[in-house]
Amino acid sequence: MTDTATRPDTGLMVEMRGVNKWYGEFHVLKNINLQVKRGERIVICGPSGSGKSTMIRCINRLEEHQKGEIIVNGVPLTHDVKKIEAIRKDTGMVFQHFNLFPHLTVLENCVLAPIWVKKIPRREAEATAMRYLERVKIPDQAKKFPGQLSGGQQQRVAIARSLCMNPDVMLFDEPTSALDPEMIKEVLDVMVELAQEGMTMLCVTHEMGFAKTVADRVIFMADGQIIEENEPHEFFNNPQHERTQLFLSQILNH
């Protein structure tokens, strides 16, 4: 989908330049600048209300930014519905509350968008879906409804559903926050595997172990701004900003 004719491939998957967003009077994103290279794994953390979810939700237009520029896979994000649809085709998203479609089986959840959006024949879409369900280790649940699965299983289905669209970048919006503790690992394992295969990923998460294992960069946000970004080792051992130090001391000292 890359618009190579007009825009040379910069090697950037996601680029945000001076992005601002307001909810009414509330200035939720303040002058965000972010560049994500192809294959890069980014973890975004920060206190609640710092705008981290809003930021990644701007990337696929679940939220609209009011100022600045967002370019995804070479396509500039504007009001143009065609461009929004093109970007959404290339962008997978995993939500905190899974958001599986409860009236469809696991398999139907996975093949729906490939069939209707990408016009892939059903048989082929089902074969792809089964392959991804195997990768997230639940092929045997394909005929079940989401309501019959545990939280961890549902989230793995949600990841498989996104992968079925063969996205170039995956956005994770607190994928483990709604899970019971014993199910967090099974989801993180899938995410680690995905990261190791070279998927471009932006993860909003507080799983610092995950950040240390796979992230190329950790971004710390507070009050709608990017306060600090660094590679994980430096970020955790030598945080520069006092706001970052406070945050890390709060989540790590238990």
């Binding site: 696929n60 237009r61 679940l62 649809e85 959404r88 085709k89 962008t91 997978g92 998203m93 939500f95 509350h97 899974f98 958001n99 599986l100 479609f101 409860p102 009236h103 729906l112 968008a113 209707w116 959006v117 409804f145 989401p146 309501g147 019959q148 939280g151 559903r161 996104s162 669209m165 709604a178």
Partner: protein, 365 residues
């Protein structure tokens, strides 16, 4: 330390079976026992005479009022007039056309209702797109079939025509209005709100009067379209406003996450609505929707005030026949029972449907 698993014991005998049930539900303390006995007494006192009238003292066979001698219900009246109650003034040798069209409709509905039968999409498409033309041809005539003017239609078959057309036409219109009311586009939204609020603000009787009396006054000389058609359009437009509000209620109950997941996957607006949102919303709406449909079914009896002979008005007319004066009760009981059978079946089917469509605990969002 290991623990010994204790054996599972059966529950005490007086808590299970018929005795257990009766103890729990009928004789659960003095108040419960008293009310059970009181209601049993009332049932005997009230139902006794009713059964006496409707069955024991009733006359079932005969060909005129002289046959009714037992002092109870005179079902002979219903029996003698049944043809008219079912078919109105439809020519007697043509009633097979009514029967055929309703049997066909029933068959199609059953096909759709029984989960095991295949090719649902095709059957549904046939029912919605082809069947109406077949039914219209059968009922109205043409293509070699003797034409039957709509003023000859009547009785139960007219009631069914009104109800079926009303439901089938108003539901899609209602869905569109509900989507319009929740649209981001201000003009679409305003128009939908105005439509819904205007139609909900007037009684159906007014709508029917307008359709039958006022509308012809506004139409140019010589243009005159069928009274039944006008009533049908009035009912459909009126009920669409109610359907729209039911659908809107269902749409509002769908969590925002469902819209977002559909958006994130790249589905367009209509794909999102038709594949994701409406199937879930319609499932939630079943009770309210069936409620509206039952309402609509019974409201069709209002066409009596514009001179259409539906089930109720044709029975009412028959009770004024000098040959059968004095048997209005039987007539009304018959009408009530007929309405009840249809409405109760719809209500049961909706319960079944709710259970069958239940797919677990749904999303946590």
């Amino acid at each position: 330390m290991k623990y010994e698993n204790q054996p599972t014991l059966p529950p005490p005998a007086n808590t299970i079976g018929v005795i257990g049930w009766a103890r729990k539900h009928l004789f659960h303390g003095p108040l419960s026992t008293l009310s059970t006995l009181l209601l049993a007494y009332l049932a005997v006192v009230l139902l006794g005479p009713l059964i006496q009238w409707a069955f024991i003292d009733a006359n079932w066979v005969g060909d005129s009022r002289e046959a009714c001698t037992a002092g109870g219900a005179c079902w002979v009246f219903i029996e003698q007039r049944l043809g008219q109650f079912l078919y109105g003034f439809y020519p007697g040798d043509q009633t097979w056309r009514l029967n055929l069209s309703f049997v066909l409709l029933l068959g199609l509905i059953l096909w759709l209702a029984i989960p095991k039968l295949p090719a649902k999409t095709w059957v549904a498409g046939f029912t919605l797109l082809v069947y109406p033309f077949i039914a219209f041809l059968l009922l109205r005539g043409g293509l070699g079939l003797e034409p039957v003017e709509t003023h000859k239609w009547g009785g139960l078959s007219l009631t069914l025509v009104l109800a079926v057309v009303g439901i089938v036409a108003s539901l899609p219109l209602g869905i569109l209005l509900a989507l319009g009311r929740r649209s981001d586009m201000p003009i679409v939204r305003t128009l939908s709100v105005i439509y819904i609020e205007v139609w909900r603000g007037v009684p159906l009787i007014t709508v029917l009067f307008m359709a039958s009396v006022m509308l012809p006054l506004f139409l140019p000389e010589g243009v005159n379209f069928d009274k039944l058609l006008r009533a049908l359009i009035g009912i459909a437009l009126f009920q669409a406003a109610y359907m729209a509000e039911v659908v809107r209620g269902g749409l509002q109950a769908i969590p925002k996450g469902q819209y977002e997941a559909a958006d994130a996957l790249g589905l367009g607006y209509w794909q999102k609505m038709i594949l994701i949102i409406l199937p879930q919303a319609l499932k939630l709406m079943i009770p309210a929707l069936v409620n509206t449909i039952i309402d609509l079914f019974k409201d069709t009896s209002l066409v009596l005030i514009i001179g259409l002979f539906d089930l109720l008005s044709i029975v009412q007319a028959a009770t004024n026949d000098p040959k059968w004066i004095g048997y209005a009760t039987e007539g009304y009981v018959f009408v009530a029972l007929t309405y009840w059978i249809f409405c109760f079946s719809m209500s049961r089917y909706s319960l079944y449907l709710e259970k069958r469509l239940h797919t677990g605990h749904g999303n946590r969002a």
